[in-house]
């Protein structure tokens, strides 16, 4: 049911996300006051010319954290409802492993390959890997009905792809291997110029497609049979879910590495907090909460002087949330 508390939650999380974004621009080794930051963002100049680079760098990684965190949380939510399992998520189901395999093939496939194909090749390889795993999961999900079993299959995909990546290591040069390992630790850094904005706009545009999933997701909580009887076109919704979750996960994974936990933990909390059962509200709140958590994680990474990898921070925040959910599931004896 829609009520004022949910609107308050939406506004609260929106404000929190933007405050964290501002904070991520402000905090750092170089202290620049807020007035100057606003000037610089407005296209002005500062007394210290290097500051504009500092702010551009901070802005870029904030934009990437904002969109990347949102995208992961959003696809986690959709996958949890679709697979009817609170432990589903882009990471657990092996979708980001698929993307990793794609990326690894390009990075570790030799110098020739990564320079020849460039960024576009990297993204395409990631998307192909992620979609491949998703399609395999969907085929297998028709053969087995238990969603727990399906999660195990997803985990197996994860193990299988990481073994394949290990095989690729055998042929890779030392520098390629290092590049891949660093990528695997996860980071919102690395985009420059206008790339951050492109990233944001791209993620937002794909996320907007979830408008078509509002009714299907609302109905799918009762299972596919009931959803079908409520007029949901299951084939179309399934396809849309594959495309949206696959592309979002792949794009974020290619740029930021296989970022863990945001995709599972955030949807769990949001589905617990938000009273409305209409995904019209749940989807945007989940996106913004993912953005906020990713920004918080990025601030933590930067305050540690970039010593802590992103995936360490997200695991520190995310793992307790997931354990808490499992305990709560056992308590209520119900799927939550």
């Amino acid at each position: 049911m829609k009520n004022n508390r949910d609107i308050f939650t939406l506004v609260g999380i929106l404000v929190a996300a933007f405050c964290l974004l501002g904070l991520n621009l402000y905090l750092g080794e170089v202290r620049i006051n807020f007035g100057t930051i606003v000037d610089l963002l407005g296209g002005g100049t500062a007394e210290n010319a290097s500051w504009s680079y500092t702010i551009e760098n901070r802005l870029n990684r904030s934009l990437v954290a904002f969109s990347g965190g949102g995208a992961l949380a959003l696809s986690g939510l959709i996958l949890q409802v679709f697979f009817r399992n609170p432990l589903a998520g882009p990471g657990v189901l092996g979708i980001s492993s698929g993307a990793s395999l794609g990326v690894a093939t390009v990075i570790l496939g030799g110098v020739g390959m990564s320079s020849l194909l460039g960024n576009l090749g990297l993204i395409s390889a990631g998307i192909i890997g992620a979609l491949g795993v998703l399609i395999l999961l969907l085929i297998i999900s028709r053969l087995i009905s238990s969603s727990i079993t399906l999660l195990v299959v997803g985990l197996m995909f994860g193990y299988f792809t990481s073994s394949l990546i290990n095989v690729l290591f055998q042929w890779a040069s030392e520098s390629d291997t290092r590049e891949y390992v660093i990528w695997g630790l996860g980071s919102f850094e690395g985009l420059n110029g206008k790339e951050g904005w492109f990233f944001l706009v791209g993620v937002l545009m794909i996320s907007l497609l979830t408008v078509f999933l509002i009714k299907p997701l609302n109905a799918l909580v009762l299972g596919t049979s009931y959803a079908g009887s409520l007029g949901v076109n299951l084939k179309r919704s399934r396809l849309l879910i594959i495309i949206i979750c696959g592309i979002l996960t792949a794009v974020v994974t290619v740029y930021c590495g296989p970022v863990s936990f945001i995709g599972i933990a955030v949807p769990q909390i949001i589905r617990f907090i938000v009273r409305s059962k209409n995904h019209l509200l749940i989807l945007p709140i989940t996106f913004l909460a993912g953005s906020a958590l990713a920004l918080l994680a990025d601030i933590t990474v930067r305050l540690s002087g970039n010593a802590l990898p992103l995936n360490t921070v997200t695991a520190l925040i995310g793992a307790p949330i997931i354990v808490w959910t499992i305990i709560r599931m056992n308590k209520t004896g119900a799927k939550v």
Binding site: R271, H279, L280, G333, K335
Partner: protein, 232 residues
């Protein structure tokens, strides 16, 4: 309302049953037959989830195959044996899902939607449960909620696939009586599959009986006729 013409329902190369010609108007109709005889497949055919049949089925004069999925959702509501809900929905949230086919792409509900939920809940005497968590209800209460959900869907036809299978003796009797009342009050056609034939004579307006790959419609002495058909 629901008209069958020379139906032959198949699964792959196997024929389940035939139905020559029949028109059902309204009332409570039982669907009886042995395990695997095709009761569920019959229901799924009406929902366009099973397309492997010959002949014509029309709903209010229109071929079933001409209905889109979303149009069909305003004509036929369903209740299955068991409901696995994903989420911490209240009873009100679950019943409200019945209004989904009448909502736009943003799935926003109106005051009228909420009103019809309360009205139907009170009619089924589960008004006091509206704010309770669905997951914590007993199987009997859950099934009442799912029937309420089917009623607010506001369709002329309701199909139920063994709605009483998990209910205790008392709840099963209550359920069938309730279905009879609902069918009479709302002028709907309700078809439900069941194995409990002792309840049919007092409550049902007829039964669809599947024996020897043939579906027939019987209207009197249901229990005796069914027992005879199975040599019991």
């Amino acid at each position: 309302m629901l008209k069958f013409n020379n139906i032959e329902i198949n699964v792959g190369s196997r024929r389940l049953f035939r139905l020559d010609s029949l028109e059902l108007e309204r009332g409570l109709i039982a669907l009886v037959g042995r395990n695997g005889c095709g009761k569920s497949t019959f229901i799924r055919s009406l929902l366009k989830e099973h397309g492997d049949y010959k002949g014509n089925i029309t709903l209010n004069g229109r071929l079933l195959t001409d209905f889109s999925k979303s149009e069909l959702a305003t004509q036929i509501a369903v209740v299955y044996t068991r409901t696995e809900l994903f989420g911490n929905h209240s009873v009100r949230d679950v019943i409200l899902l019945g209004r989904l086919p009448h909502q736009g792409i943003l799935s926003r509900f109106s005051k009228e939607d909420l009103g019809s939920v309360e009205k139907v809940a009170n009619q089924l005497e589960i008004g006091h449960l509206l704010d309770a968590a669905f997951q914590r209800l007993s199987d009997g209460e859950k099934q009442l909620v799912m029937i309420a959900r089917a009623l607010v869907q506001d369709t002329p036809l309701i199909l139920m696939d063994e709605p009483g299978a998990y209910l205790d003796l008392v709840n099963r009797v209550k359920l069938v009586r309730l279905l009879k009342d609902v069918a009479d009050d709302s002028q709907k056609l309700i078809i439900f599959s069941t194995h409990h034939i002792d309840l049919l004579d007092q409550n049902c307006d007829g039964a669809l009986l599947i024996t020897n790959e043939q579906m027939s419609f019987i209207q009197a002495d249901l229990q005796t006729q069914i027992k005879n058909a199975f040599n019991l």
